[in-house]
Symmetry: C2
Subunit: 219 residues, 2 copies
């Protein structure tokens, strides 16, 4: 779906190289996450990245192409890490626990929250379902659905007593619980000022894993 970055094409304009494409992606991530898709202009992104609009178009084509590249850059890193952890868990002699599967799922995004760039991407993702463009859904599906299905299978293996319907519900409720806690710090601060520390990665991972694992096991 995303156009491959740093592709060498004949006649590329001056200014390529020097991590220009990464700078464009960073600037675009900032703008899209702050202002949403429709309020963001390529002109401003180019200016923030210190490149010409011609160079931006050379790398990413349209605004939609750029948005896709921004989204896929980090979502594919998350997905890869999730799938590697899952494969590692099931390669062990002992069947993994529910908690192991939940932690493998959560870990890459919890870690992402530790950096400013990571938080930027999580904000972008939190806005995704309010974006008016149909492309947003296709993008999310392309990015995550296959990996989410692997986790549904994994949950069904570690909780064989659950029905197919139960496992799907639990997956959806897990995604909702962690996404909300991650994307909406402001609300947690309103509800629990100075009580819950959203900067403490271990606390977050521990609290969400405990809550979600018990929810998954409930019959």
């Amino acid at each position: 779906m995303s156009r491959s970055v740093e592709k060498k094409r004949p006649g590329r304009p001056e200014g390529t190289g020097d991590n220009a494409s990464e700078r464009i992606l960073d600037a675009a991530e900032t703008e899209f996450s702050q202002n949403g898709y429709s309020e963001t202009s390529l002109r401003i992104i180019a200016r923030q990245a210190g490149v010409t609009q011609a160079l931006l178009s050379y790398y990413f084509g349209s605004k939609q192409g750029l948005y896709e590249s921004v989204f896929m850059r980090r979502s594919q890193a998350i997905v890869q890490e999730r799938e590697e952890s899952l494969a590692e868990l099931f390669s062990r002699k002992k069947t993994p626990q529910v908690e192991d599967v939940v932690r493998a799922f959560l870990k890459p995004t919890v870690v992402l929250r530790e950096t400013e760039e990571g938080r930027r991407f999580l904000r972008l993702q939190a806005r995704l379902h309010t974006e008016p463009l149909e492309v947003a859904y296709k993008l999310r599906e392309a990015a995550y659905t296959s990996s989410t299905k692997k986790y549904i299978e994994a949950l069904a293996r570690v909780c064989p007593e659950l029905s197919d319907k139960d496992v799907h519900w639990k997956m959806v409720l897990m995604i909702g619980a962690y996404l909300y806690a991650f994307s909406d710090n402001h609300r947690l601060d309103e509800i629990a000022p100075n009580i819950c520390d959203l900067k403490d990665t271990e606390e977050i991972l521990e609290q969400i894993t405990k809550f979600v694992s018990a929810g998954i096991k409930a019959k």
Copy 2:
């Protein structure tokens, strides 16, 4: 915060009465939930409601005043029902179970999902934290925070073994789980097509209550 509706003021323009203010609120809810705050114009709302812009301004003042009235209309109905249920639970001789408290919290929004207007409001609310305006946060705080705190107290009473920090985390994760399942049907259809039925109110209430109650009880 919201200006009282149907207030009789001297010199009100023709066209008042006849549920005009309700029609305006309905049209505004539709527009705001579909297009967000900044993309919505009072002109279009007035046209959809079949009133003049003068009448709209007479009732609600500015766009912000109208947005607040739209938000407060249904959120205050939710809050009132939640608080009445809670008072009823704790007026009984037997201490309520976690499940009772969770169900009392979820019920008003689950019921709201049964009507087109209710779903419209839930979409509006789901967009709230991506709205760029600072007023959105103040509005949510004004609408919900006092009632949310009553539920945190109630959870602490029915789960005395939990720490203060735990109870706050669990409240946030409960809100995240149900909001996501409610506001983003599209994602549930992608993940679980024809498996989870988001039109079945009993199924929803049962699945979320089971998951969330077990999560809350987990130590």
